[in-house]
Symmetry: C2
Subunit: 210 residues, 2 copies
């Protein structure tokens, strides 16, 4: 039928791609806002206003606030964790060096690119049941990256920890608050603060040689 045999089997039409882009715009804005203020404090009118549309449009793409929130968390969390997973798979060196690189990248992402997204991973208790479960799942996958390197270092004798879970929890807790501490700092001071944080957290795995 068409004069262009190429891209014949394209599963999505142009209009579908356009819709996809719109959905992404909405999700990015929603993640931003939910991250800034938390679930309760963000109304759909707020989201719509930042997108220069009205609330009704959001309901054209999502069945409700919960679903929008879940999708926003999903997108952001998947991107974040994916980058850490890729780093863990490529970075070379001792377990000590690898863990430090992960810590550094994690706080750098949190502070630099998703400064507002923090709250998505912190204390999800005010969120409705459904988003809360998704957040927990994303956190588990997130933790998994660090658990991998940690257990590697344990097996090789580079690390000595009292308990794997506890150590991971302490790391995660400290990292999750990093953006709050570094928020107001200038670039150089911020870099120093992030290095210091990574150094401090490295102590949690003790036996590692500096």
């Amino acid at each position: 039928m068409s004069s262009q045999p190429v891209e014949v089997a394209a599963p999505v039409s142009r209009v579908q791609r356009k819709r996809g882009r719109r959905v992404q715009e909405i999700l990015a804005t929603a993640a931003e806002l939910f991250g800034e203020r938390g679930y309760d404090a963000v109304s759909l009118d707020d989201v719509a206003e930042r997108l220069d549309v009205t609330k009704g449009s959001l309901y054209y793409y999502f069945p409700g606030k919960d679903e929008l929130a879940v999708a926003a968390i999903e997108t952001l969390g998947a991107d974040w964790t994916g980058r850490l997973e890729r780093l863990a798979a490529t970075v070379e060196g001792s377990p000590h060096e690898r863990l430090r690189a992960l810590l550094r990248e994690h706080v750098a992402i949190a502070v630099g690119e998703y400064p507002a997204a923090l709250r998505l991973f912190l204390v999800p208790s005010t969120w409705p049941a459904d988003p809360r479960e998704r957040i927990k799942e994303l956190r588990r996958r997130h933790d998994q990256v660090f658990r991998g390197v940690l257990e590697e270092g344990l097996a090789s004798g580079d690390f000595a920890v009292t308990g794997v879970d506890t150590t991971l929890q302490c790391m995660h807790a400290a990292m999750a608050q990093a953006p709050l501490w570094c928020g107001g700092l200038e670039s150089e001071a911020r870099e120093r603060a992030l290095d210091e944080l990574a150094d401090t957290l490295m102590k949690l795995v003790a036996a590692a040689a500096q």
Copy 2:
């Protein structure tokens, strides 16, 4: 006039004491609820219902939700921090032992007695400006207890830390999440988890001898 000269100068009447007790009841309940669900998710009807009264009664004692929240935070925070300050002033031993005792007591209070009050000290960002400032102040005083012991150990050479502030922040962040981890555990497993947490956190001050 009275046949009992004792207690003549009592500054408060019986009715005032009664009012004081009522206020304490309200504050305790409010702190409980705010701790469980956070500021936004708690309505004054919720608070009133748990007290078996109606919303109007709360407005007889407090001018508004903000003021109630601030007072509740104040009471709980002062009690908590006061106990840590007293412990810090009395416990004997090396800086290492003193710090560990404080860490242990802190998580024990958080997990055992104020299991719900956690959120008051965590991510105060969804709170209105006024309560938020009070929370920050209380956290500073809270930190001060640990800062004292930490600097003591630094001066005596028992501790070696990269940065005092960063170390305190990591400790605080990890401790703040402790109740979330230990929430579902039975008493013995919980004790073990708390010990493990304290041990792990002690690593942050490194040079300390085990």
